[in-house]
């Protein structure tokens, strides 16, 4: 498959990068990425994935846009209040890049539908706001051997990691980091605790970047690592995240 003149121009700044090149751009166009959650993380992530020419993007979200989302969920605009987030996001992405196929799944991800939804994609991005769904996504990705690029937000902080225990000895899954769900009292959602809007932009953009790197093979990924971003103090640290041999999902505890 060759690029059209329009594609060569649209993706010129990717193709000129020696690490990406035509092969990397082709890999992006053939990639299928599922984004679970079109909120704070999903908003910038979806925009960068579509802009980059990721060929097929799935969006799972059954929420509707609320006015209080708009200080950070920049894919949704004021006239979208009340609309399904998945529909709102799809419209923006198609305007941004009509070449990408956007599949919307306006449902909650639950154990009954997780395998059939996730099974159709190569890479899954977790942008959800609760630990129960985070565990469901991780367990399904472990079972189906899908790459999971995960991020989480606090009021001024983010954590980003890539999980692919199937890809190498010693690589962890999300449950190696968080084996059991914390108490609901620890569930520090943005609606409960607030978040400075641009924090979601920074962390969601880093998540998009790691997905683009996974697809193209560019640079060092975050498998077996976790990036801890503290925007309050502006400390960014990359720490090791080894597999837990007793992990209930990908280890002997299974």
């Amino acid at each position: 498959m060759d690029f059209t003149d329009e594609q060569l121009e649209r993706y010129a700044r990717h193709i000129i990068l020696k690490e990406v090149g035509g092969a990397g751009q082709m890999a992006l166009s053939q990639a299928k990425v599922l984004v679970v959650g079109a909120g704070g993380l999903g908003a910038p992530m979806l925009m960068y994935l579509a802009a980059a020419g990721v060929g097929t993007i799935g969006i799972v979200d059954n929420d509707h846009v609320e006015l209080s989302n708009l200080q950070r969920q920049i894919i949704h605009h004021t006239p979208d209040v009340g609309a399904l987030k998945a529909e709102s996001a799809k419209a923006k992405l198609e305007a941004l890049n009509p070449e990408v196929t956007i599949n919307i799944i306006p449902k909650r991800l639950v154990s009954e539908n997780a395998e059939s939804i996730i099974g159709g994609y190569d890479i899954v991005a977790d942008g959800t706001d609760n630990f129960k769904t985070r565990h469901l996504i991780s367990d399904t990705c472990v079972k189906l051997e899908k790459v999971l690029v995960s991020a989480a937000l606090g009021p001024y902080e983010g954590q980003i990691a890539t999980f692919k225990p199937h890809a190498g000895e010693g690589l962890p899954c999300y449950r190696c980091f968080l084996p059991i769900e914390p108490d609901p009292s620890q569930e520090r959602t943005c609606s409960d605790f607030g978040i400075l809007g641009a924090v979601a932009g920074v962390v969601g953009s880093l998540q998009a970047l790691e997905i683009l790197k996974e697809i193209t093979g560019v640079g060092d990924g975050l498998a077996g690592k976790m990036l801890m971003v503290d925007t309050f103090s502006m400390n960014v640290r990359k720490i090791g995240l080894p597999k837990d041999p007793g992990c209930p999902s990908c280890g002997e505890g299974n």
Binding site: N130, F177, R237
Partner: protein, 66 residues
């Protein structure tokens, strides 16, 4: 022996396990992640891993917002 916990110097019993150290702080070891010398300590090994002099610990709270 002396270790550093979230940037603060602390004196702890020689060879204390991660589990006992966290419990001694009044934390439920099941509910936090511990980073020791820039690496997360696997939770299933908390009772077996002994802290050493000059260890740098960070107690990492889970965040889950999206």
């Amino acid at each position: 022996m002396k270790i550093t916990v979230n940037g603060d110097l602390k004196t702890v019993e020689d060879g204390v396990s991660v589990w006992d150290f966290l419990s001694g702080l009044g934390l439920d070891p099941k509910k936090v992640a511990v980073e020791r010398n820039l690496e997360i300590v696997p939770k299933s090994t908390f009772a077996d891993v002994s802290l050493e002099e000059d260890d740098q610990l960070e107690i990492v709270h889970f965040i889950g917002g999206g």
